[in-house]
């Protein structure tokens, strides 16, 4: 706590914060208000801030009015598999960076850092060509592999940083007792790294869950659409059903919001990890 008196500057700062929070939250509040309107109220003029009839059933009917369940399942499968692949590769690599010496370590560290500065659009053209060559276009496997790879550098950095903070003596004691290197990693280091594993897994999941541009490029069959792509495809319809669109958008946010609040303390630390390290 700062020992400022509650003078004018105190109130000015809080008023400014209130204004920024209000403007930031306004679109989501209005999205909620839209999602609870019957269709007839969407384009009434003058527009109203609140629905006249509250169509709570929209959140039920949206699942059958559009293939929302399909999109959600696609996104879940892609994001979970991408996260698992990401973790399976990041854990040993992060551990190697933290604990082992091997030729090319410096190069590996630098190369990972550089990949974080790449613009996905720079990769997109070459990646499209590659996925075409291996016949994975319009296949959700292409998204799993790509998402796992693009969040990998971050996960390795993040986990390496955490592993380094664990006292090495504990592992040495375990290895003295006959544990192998892999055994020490699995039985000693990983159980002690739960917060870091959760945070890096959550980051990989959210990244995959929210990704739009690559999915837009790779996926063409409606049945293969991930949730962001599915929501976007509402816009192409002859008459956009904004109430359903807003309901779907809010449904898409909920899991991320829960995960974000779960790892709030690690949020900033995580997002700047690669850059500051």
């Amino acid at each position: 706590m700062r020992r400022h008196e509650r003078g004018l500057s105190w109130w000015l700062l809080l008023a400014f914060l209130a204004l920024v929070v209000a403007v930031s939250i306004f679109p989501f509040a209005f999205a909620l208000s839209t999602s609870l309107r019957p269709r007839a109220e969407l384009f009434s003029f003058p527009p109203t801030w609140f629905p006249k009839t509250w169509a709570w059933e929209n959140f039920v009917t949206v699942w059958s009015a559009v293939p929302l369940l399909r999109y959600v399942l696609n996104s879940l499968v892609v994001s979970v598999l991408a996260t698992l692949l990401n973790m399976a590769f990041a854990i040993p690599a992060g551990y190697a960076l933290a604990r082992l010496n091997f030729p090319g370590k410096r190069l590996f560290r630098q190369a990972l850092l550089v990949t974080q500065m790449f613009s996905p659009v720079v990769l997109l053209i070459g990646l499209f060509r590659f996925m075409n060559q291996v016949h994975l276009l319009d296949n959700n496997a292409s998204l799993v592999i790509t998402y796992a790879a693009l969040s990998l550098a971050f996960s390795v950095w993040f986990l390496a940083g955490y592993f380094e903070s664990i006292p090495i003596e504990i592992e040495e004691a375990a290895m003295m007792d006959g544990c192998t290197r892999v055994g020490a990693l699995v039985r000693v280091v990983l159980p002690m790294s739960k917060p870091a594993l959760v945070a890096s897994g959550v980051f990989a999941f959210i990244w995959a869950w929210n990704e739009f541009m690559i999915a837009l490029t790779f996926i063409s069959t409606p049945d293969n659409r991930t949730l962001p792509l599915g929501i976007y495809s509402f816009l192409g319809q002859y008459s956009v059903e904004w109430n359903y669109l807003m309901a779907a958008a809010l449904i898409a946010i909920v899991p991320v919001l829960i995960l974000f609040l779960l790892i709030e303390k690690n949020l900033v630390k995580g997002l700047t990890a690669g850059a500051v390290k």
């Binding site: 930031s24 003058p46 990972l112 720079v122 070459g126 075409n132 700047t272």
Partner: protein, 294 residues
């Protein structure tokens, strides 16, 4: 001390090296090759083209304008976001009732993807009957509905506003973390010296926030530069490429118009531009020790 176990070490990084090699480094090589080739509309290279694709860019007036638009967009969003986020971070650092709620609410635009943010704003601004038009007309601020996303100036205002709103959470949280690393003794010393809030902000807080401000700004530059979904969902570059940024323009050239050669040349240009930034970053890492966030 790290152990010297070369084989185990290499084995442990092997999966990562392969995956990142195939999905990140190989496509860049492929894009680079395409940029020096004639490429058909199926993204297949058909022959060496020298610098033709790059030369084509210089005579592409749309490209040059989109480049200027991208710089404008990035500078405007990052600049305004930073200026807004400093007082937001200062406020979040104060001790007040509802602080947790304010933080939770501020996270929402960050948790929602860029695409979702953009799509909600498209609805808010959509057509004649939008809530914004209705409200402004009721307040008699405008007589006629404005098609906000229909003309260049108002569309840019909208795109930039959305860009700022989605960037504020990360920026202010990051600055807040930097602020919290400023030892409170420094404030107390300033207070004892009789410095007021603004004086201590200007002479103590701001200089100490310099490293975190630099890192946050550079990260924001990269994020904002790459924010494909915002212009894509709001205007798709209309009217006539006037609200495109480089990433959306490259996407259109490649995947809508089948011009993979020139698109690859643009992508390489971006690659070099952002690499220059990443080199700046490696300088910045020297500031690392001073940054509170690890």
């Amino acid at each position: 001390m790290p152990r010297s176990e070369p084989l185990v070490g290499l084995l442990f990084i092997l999966p990562t090296v392969v995956l990142v090699g195939v999905i990140v480094f190989y496509p860049i090589v492929e894009t680079a090759l395409m940029s020096f080739s004639t490429v058909n509309s199926l993204a297949q290279r058909e022959g060496f083209a020298g610098l033709a694709n790059y030369e084509a860019l210089l005579s592409d007036t749309v490209f040059l304008r989109v480049l200027a638009q991208t710089v404008f967009w990035t500078v405007a969003v990052v600049g305004i976001t930073t200026v807004v986020s400093i007082p937001v971070a200062l406020a979040l650092n104060l001790n007040f009732r509802g602080r947790r709620l304010a933080r939770a609410l501020l996270i929402v635009p960050w948790a929602a993807s860029l695409m979702i943010n953009a799509i909600i704003w498209r609805w808010i601004l959509d057509g004649q009957h939008s809530i914004i038009n209705g409200t402004l007309m009721r307040l008699h601020l405008i007589d006629q509905p404005i098609i906000w996303l229909g003309s260049e100036q108002t569309a840019w205002a909208a795109i930039i506003l959305v860009g700022i709103l989605v960037s504020i959470p990360f920026t202010s949280f990051s600055l807040l973390a930097g602020l919290q690393s400023v030892p409170s003794e420094l404030y107390e010393a300033a207070m004892v010296d009789g410095a007021g809030f603004w004086a201590s902000f200007w002479h103590v807080t701001l200089p100490l926030m310099r490293p975190v401000l630099i890192v946050t700004t550079l990260l924001n530059v990269i994020y904002v530069f790459n924010s494909f979904p915002i212009p894509w969902v709001l205007t798709q570059g209309s009217p006539a490429y006037r609200t495109d940024i480089l990433v959306t323009y490259i996407y259109k050239r490649a995947f809508a118009e089948g011009q993979f050669g020139p698109a690859a040349a643009m992508a390489m240009l971006i690659f070099v531009l952002l690499l220059a930034f990443s080199l700046t970053f490696s300088h910045i890492t020297k500031e690392r020790a001073k940054v509170g966030i690890k």
